[in-house]
């Protein structure tokens, strides 16, 4: 914990080291490759902007927001155009109904729980990585890192309405990819249920 007025290089180093696990975790959730570089760029920007940190208690969230800014800038620099998914592509998909209809574990009394229980951390990461960045980032920030939708919109420099639409399509796409991944990777095989 640093003093309220202490904006020395030493105090920044203290808070930065304390936040390394959280920053690396977010970077790995946002990117398939290059997480360490993303953390380094975040730390560099944070170091340069340290005097603007208003509340020491919020230093973790402050650094994460800087990381999302860096991530946004990298996406823009890559100038990769990621097409918005057509609404109809995912709108009518329901993982809940698909599991009930396909009944992958016919002897189970807890079908839906068993399905989700088959996914470990690496599986969930792989499924998230199948989503284009414009859908993955809002999902990760909202449901894994606890950002409010307004904070996501501000950090990504995207209108709130667009973020809400991407969250909706991202959730549907995530559900669809969970099913596809489970099928492809054999998680639906009887006996694979944890």
């Amino acid at each position: 914990m640093v003093d309220e007025q202490d904006r020395s290089e030493g105090s920044f180093r203290c808070l930065a080291v304390a936040e390394l696990p959280a920053l690396y975790g977010l970077a790995r959730r946002l990117l398939r490759d290059g997480a360490e570089d993303l953390v380094q760029e975040t730390l560099l920007r944070g170091f340069r902007a340290y005097e603007t940190l208003a509340d020491d208690e919020a230093s973790g969230r402050w650094l994460k927001t800087i990381m999302v800014n860096v991530f946004r800038d990298q996406l823009r620099k890559q100038a990769r155009s990621v097409d918005e998914l057509p609404v109809e592509d995912v709108e009518n998909f329901s993982l809940y109904r698909t599991i009930a209809d396909e009944d992958p574990f016919p002897y189970s009394d807890t079908l839906h729980d068993d399905f989700l229980g088959a996914f470990d951390r690496q599986d969930v990461r792989e499924v998230l990585m199948r989503l284009p960045e414009i859908y993955r980032a809002p999902l990760v920030l909202r449901y894994m890192d606890g950002f409010a939708t307004k904070e996501i919109a501000a950090a990504l420099g995207t209108p709130l309405g667009t973020i809400l639409a991407r969250l909706h399509r991202g959730r549907k796409r995530f559900e669809k990819e969970l099913w596809a991944y489970a099928d492809e990777c054999g998680l639906l095989l009887e006996g694979e249920v944890g």
């Binding site: 690396y24 360490e36 953390v39 809940y96 951390r121 894994m144």
Partner: protein
């Protein structure tokens, strides 16, 4: 679900479930979703499953910081 007067269809209710859980729907839509849920068992199942999916995302998101990466990043911090 059998159609009821003044009750939104399942497609409308399901589309709003995550926003409903996020408290991100208007008070009017909240009432409509809750009225639908009071009639529709299938959508109650969708709601419970949406909660489980949110838990899955929150619980399976943790990432270990490998010792070698920590060491390099700590060195980077000291050199700032």
């Amino acid at each position: 679900m059998t159609e009821q007067p003044d009750v939104i269809p399942c497609t409308d209710a399901v589309r709003q479930l995550w926003d409903y859980l996020d408290n991100a729907v208007s008070p009017e839509d909240q009432k409509l979703v809750e009225r639908h849920l009071s009639f529709c068992r299938a959508c109650c199942g969708e709601l419970e499953f949406a909660k489980e999916l949110r838990t899955l995302l929150a619980a399976r998101g943790a990432v270990e910081l490998p010792a070698d990466v920590r060491s390099r990043l700590e060195r980077f911090v000291q050199e700032l």
